[in-house]
């Protein structure tokens, strides 16, 4: 009995220490961001950030790129992973290895490759937004692939598709009525992770010369003191807001209260 209590005590202690490890720097950044006006705590740095037209411009640009990346990424990767699960399980190790490449190859190498490949020749896309989106899709590939793969593993994909086929359904109906509704959490997770990556991405946007949010944050961080701290807190809140949204959606779906569960 006392052993169990001691173990619980240790667990709480480590949890508390972990909390402090993450929370103290965040608190420090937040308090620092409130010192925008000398002698008083204020949200002046946040006001300045919101008042800067570049903030909204760069943020909305990155937002558009994030949405495009999510759409292109999901359209490419979902059918591929389903095909691998159903028809080509032998290809799984190959695709898994490919999905790890963005972790191994630095973005700077990727972007130089893209510039070299697409600055001339039959596809001069270097000044096209599509090249930026394509680069972002590569960066987001590991996250989208793993989310989709986990979503498909969580269901009996073969059984469900065969059951739907035996009921007369075409592949379009199977995808939109059976497969995708049962992997909503995985799709949300893939979408939000992609969003987080694209919103703060720096290298591709700088090297391809696009006015994105990542370069803007870097610029603000170089020239100003309190505003970068405010931006960091805003980014943090945005990310945690998205994670909270995933949790909320997962719980709703798991309980089957609105759109059914992924059981």
């Amino acid at each position: 009995m006392s052993g169990g209590r001691a173990r619980r005590g240790w667990a709480w202690l480590w949890l508390f220490l972990g909390f402090l490890y993450f929370f103290i720097p965040l608190l420090g950044t937040f308090l620092f961001s409130l010192h925008g006006r000398r002698g008083v705590l204020s949200f002046a740095a946040y006001h300045k950030v919101f008042a800067d037209p570049q903030f909204l411009e760069t943020f909305s640009f990155s937002l558009q790129m994030a949405v495009l990346t999510i759409i292109v990424g999901l359209c490419l990767i979902i059918p591929t992973v389903i095909w691998i699960h159903l028809r080509a399980p032998w290809a799984k190790p190959v695709v898994e290895t490919c999905s790890l490449l963005p972790f191994v190859i630095p973005p700077i190498v990727l972007v130089f490759g893209l510039i070299r490949m697409y600055s001339s020749g039959p596809l001069p896309l270097v000044s096209s937004r599509f090249l930026l989106v394509a680069g972002y899709v590569v960066l987001a590939f590991p996250y989208i692939y793993r989310s989709v793969d986990a979503g498909l593993r969580a269901m009996d994909l073969r059984g469900l598709t065969e059951a739907a086929q035996s009921l007369g359904a075409s592949w379009g109906t199977i995808m939109f009525k059976v497969v995708l509704p049962n992997m909503r959490v995985a799709l949300l997770s893939a979408a939000f992770l992609t969003f987080s990556i694209v919103i703060g991405e720096l290298t591709l946007a700088v090297m391809l010369a696009w006015p994105a949010f990542g370069p803007y944050m870097a610029l603000v961080g170089r020239d100003l003191a309190y505003e970068p701290a405010a931006l960091a807190i805003l980014s943090f809140l945005l990310t945690w807001g998205l994670i909270g949204l995933i949790q909320f959606a997962s719980r709703r779906i798991a309980s089957g209260s609105t759109i059914g569960g992924t059981h």
């Binding site: 059984g159 739907a164 035996s166 075409s170 009525k177 509704p181 049962n182």
Partner: protein, 349 residues
């Protein structure tokens, strides 16, 4: 003309022949079971009928039309899976509606058909439940209703009861047979459970290593097995080696004692198979065979008691009904067993 015909169907995966020259004609409304051990090709054959596997050779005809080139969703074949395969994001009602909506039935007809199906499986109150809110037995009944709703030409069931516990399995088995008889649908049922196949089927197809060993009614399969495999696979068997004394009279010698089969036999040595329930203990029946031995074990199996009897080098099992007044000799005592000539299943060694 048969309703479902498989003619010389072959399936190879690489060099591995999984189904080898499978030929079968199933009449309309018939309930046929494919029975065999793991890897005998029964599920692959079923999946070829459904269209989920393409035969390497042969033809499959449903109602006279060759369906080999047709996609699964064009064959008009309903399927029930071992793990239910209900759509998790839909209630039972929406699961049943699915195929009807795909077939573009009118809303009023869909509603009526769903009610009919829910009533058929006695789940009128559970229509709004999601699969995860139901037991395995309820899920399988819902799966059956979903498959039947679209009025398929043939119903295929792939080991539908194997994921359920024994009690539910027994009750659902009865229910499946009742529903099949009520709807009159031509049904193919895959199982490795001989009790299921014997109790449900009009005919049983016993398979081994991709080939058909025997096709027959449960009575024929059990009482007149065509091959040694069928004899050993269906029910329990005592197998004894015997020397042939007189082939024309079917006279054999087992452990130095004479036994006579019902008909002539061939060869000099044969396998003599006897079912445990065909043997009697210490009952001298005139005209019947009799062997002397020693009682070695008594095992209680609920409704029956299985006695182990040693005859020469052979150990035999003999089943007796377990009644309150059952009197058994002591273990180690000398006993005699008797059995009619017709109980002798003789096959080449």
């Amino acid at each position: 003309m048969a309703f479902l015909e498989l003619d010389g169907v072959v399936k190879r995966f690489g060099r591995n022949v999984v189904v080898d020259g499978f030929t079968l004609a199933v009449q309309e409304g018939e309930f046929v079971s494919f029975l065999g051990g793991s890897g005998c090709g029964k599920t692959t054959t079923l999946r070829m009928i459904a269209g989920f596997e393409t035969p390497t050779g042969g033809s499959i005809r449903i109602h006279g039309s060759d369906v080999v080139a047709l996609a699964p969703n064009k064959r008009g074949v309903g399927m029930v899976f071992q793990n239910y395969a209900l759509f998790p994001n839909m209630t039972v009602r929406r699961n049943i509606e699915f195929g009807l909506k795909v077939a573009r039935w009118r809303p009023a007809e869909i509603a009526q058909r769903v009610e009919e199906m829910l009533s058929l499986i006695h789940m009128e109150e559970l229509g709004e439940r999601y699969p995860h809110q139901m037991s395995g037995g309820q899920q399988q009944r819902a799966s059956l209703a979903r498959a039947l709703a679209v009025k398929p030409k043939v119903l295929l069931l792939d080991e539908p009861l194997s994921a359920l516990d024994a009690k539910i399995r027994a009750s659902l088995r009865t229910e499946i047979r009742a529903i099949q008889q009520k709807t009159g649908i031509t049904t193919i049922y895959v199982t490795h459970d001989q009790e299921e196949a014997l109790s449900l089927s009009d005919r049983i197809v016993v398979m081994q290593a991709g080939k058909i060993e025997q096709v027959g009614t449960p009575f024929e399969i059990y009482n007149h097995p065509a091959t040694a495999f069928v004899a050993s696979f269906i029910g329990n068997l005592n197998i004894l080696e015997a020397a042939v004394l007189d082939p024309a009279l079917g006279l054999l010698a087992v452990a130095g004692q004479q036994v006579q089969a019902a008909g002539p036999v061939t060869g000099s040595r044969v396998k003599l198979a006897l079912r445990p329930e065909m043997l009697s203990l210490n009952e001298g029946v005139p005209g019947a065979n009799s062997l002397a031995g020693r009682l070695t074990t008594v095992v209680f199996l609920g409704s029956i008691v299985r006695l182990g009897i040693r005859i020469g080098d052979h150990d035999l099992a003999l089943d007796r009904f377990n009644t309150p007044h059952l009197a058994l000799p002591a273990v180690g005592s000398d006993v005699s067993i008797s059995f009619p000539r017709e109980a002798c299943l003789v096959s080449p060694l």
